[in-house]
Symmetry: C2
Subunit: 385 residues, 2 copies
Amino acid sequence: MTYKSICSVKGVDAYGIKEGRFGLAVIRASGTAAGVFTENLVKAAPIELMRTQIKAGWLEVVIANSGCANAYTGKRGYADAVSMTGIAGTALGIDPKHVGVASTGVIGRYLDLPLIERQCKTVVPRLDHTPETEALAAQAIMTTDLFPKHALVKKETFAVAGIAKGSGMIAPNMGTMLAFIYTDAEIGPDPLSTALKQATRRTFNRVVVDGDMSTNDIALCTATGESGKVGAPEFSAALEECCRLLGRQIAADGEGATKLLEVTVKGARREDDAAKVARTVIESPLVKTAVYGEDPNWGRVIAAAGRAGVEFDPNAVSLWISDGEGEYPLVKSGEIIADLKRAKEAMHGKNVIFILDLAAGREEATSWGCDLTERYVKINGRYTT
Amino acid sequence: MTYKSICSVKGVDAYGIKEGRFGLAVIRASGTAAGVFTENLVKAAPIELMRTQIKAGWLEVVIANSGCANAYTGKRGYADAVSMTGIAGTALGIDPKHVGVASTGVIGRYLDLPLIERQCKTVVPRLDHTPETEALAAQAIMTTDLFPKHALVKKETFAVAGIAKGSGMIAPNMGTMLAFIYTDAEIGPDPLSTALKQATRRTFNRVVVDGDMSTNDIALCTATGESGKVGAPEFSAALEECCRLLGRQIAADGEGATKLLEVTVKGARREDDAAKVARTVIESPLVKTAVYGEDPNWGRVIAAAGRAGVEFDPNAVSLWISDGEGEYPLVKSGEIIADLKRAKEAMHGKNVIFILDLAAGREEATSWGCDLTERYVKINGRYTT
């Protein structure tokens, strides 16, 4: 399979290589840049480095490896991350200060720098803007992902596109979210950063596979500017849409998942309230197992909402279930009207959507997750030894 | 099996009956009383009633049914809860205002009051303070529990004992925590309430089976006073110990659980910080699956701690694993020293304990939970239809 997402953005070249568990992707795109990073207190070395490096607001290239997270590796790990930017810089003849770096894989182990250097030498001469090279880059950063993630939002005058990897945490491996987003819109580093932060808050940060925030999560966005100026609101909307498309793919590819779970909470007093309730529902193991079992167990959704720490009147809420096509009411203004047979039918597909109206205000938010299956337990039950 | 816990407390008589899914327990004990209740916004009718009723600080009897939670049942549900106190009051010739009431079971359905009245008439004449009648009361309130929960803390001059049920949420059933605690110490309703709140905060509220707080959770404590006055600190310590013993049993009997998981966080700046970190670790699906798989995956513990929203230096932490006997160090002041083979051995038993030192202060807290197994997914995946 090939994809046309980041290769459709003017000024972006990519390539990747995967050797067993160890992959390396390089994406060259010169432009203003912004990044968002894991809020986990335990931050991998490349995250620590990039938090400083991104302040310059400019990237020439991104280099990302899979197989080793370079996390919990102390000062040596930090020096290794710096070396990795040097490897890419040397190979491409650019200042290492403008190299973006990211890692995903096992924690508590050191990078194999000679391997990365060798892989980089293979990758760099092959950089190109074709669907094939883009696909190789997206595959190179996969760990336990079952499929690569690509997204493209094409507007009249510009495009925003990205590749990503996700898939719940595996440790000492930790599955990590990496997202590399590109646009040919011309946009300064500050509005770019603002837009990326807002998009992340509304999309990636609302994707919950198992609630375990990784030490390595990173999203980088580079704007090559080759399509000229774009209004900030228009750009923000396109960027958010691109992040949403990637986030949904990450949720659908959660470890052991058989279904994408989407929860929209509306009628909230504040967007944050809506997001909090949506997240609590999407994280609930009882909701997740019910979705897996195609059990239209609305009581679990309302009970989870009730413990989210948000004020609302449980006797005024309404709840619908949807498969993305029709919407079936389960509770209307606190009255149970569930037709369980029909509701169960709405759960047979790959997408299960709950819409909860808190009847407390006008704000809303959506969260994405997946079902909880025996396979998740199996995947995560035995790893280290 | 019989037990000597609440029947060892002077002035307490109990009996219970279980007919299929529908059980009824009555515990007669006249004394000062206090209660703590679910913080879920969605509160069952008996919870709403008891929150008012307990303000009098005096209970004569507790009546609790299993099979129907009387939750999400509106005004009729509230009236039914009031009727239930009337049924017990009539059978025992006491004021319904001094009847404690609790329910557990399916939500969204109404109580079968004629059944409860009939069961009450069977139970009341058989009230007694024997291990056999106590066992019947504890069994009567079980839903998906695999074993009844009894605890006794015997001091020189007084005793504190309780029975409880737990076991994760099942919906539209919701497994619920009910705890009925008795002491023959003489203690006023206000210090009793203070002690119960503190004990609950430190024990029951730190038990996490699946993070889904029930609509029906309740703990009631009655002090018969028959053993005379006791100092508040001495009483508080005994009550907390009793609640801890019950809480551990509830955690060990989590749905599908094969192991009790205990996480102690020490070296925290504040007790709340320690509790927050302990809870985040105990809730982590990755930690829970690793415990199930006997995988000494310390990276997951530290990564979970890192996202608890508490400030500490990840490079200063120490981590031990224990089976309740020896303690094996995994990380010492940020240095990885894990002997994975030895650590794995420490996970073979029924109890897996992590001790995490944040090296940030002097406060500590312990949280209890259980492993996450395929059986949990199976139990909860198909219920309603």
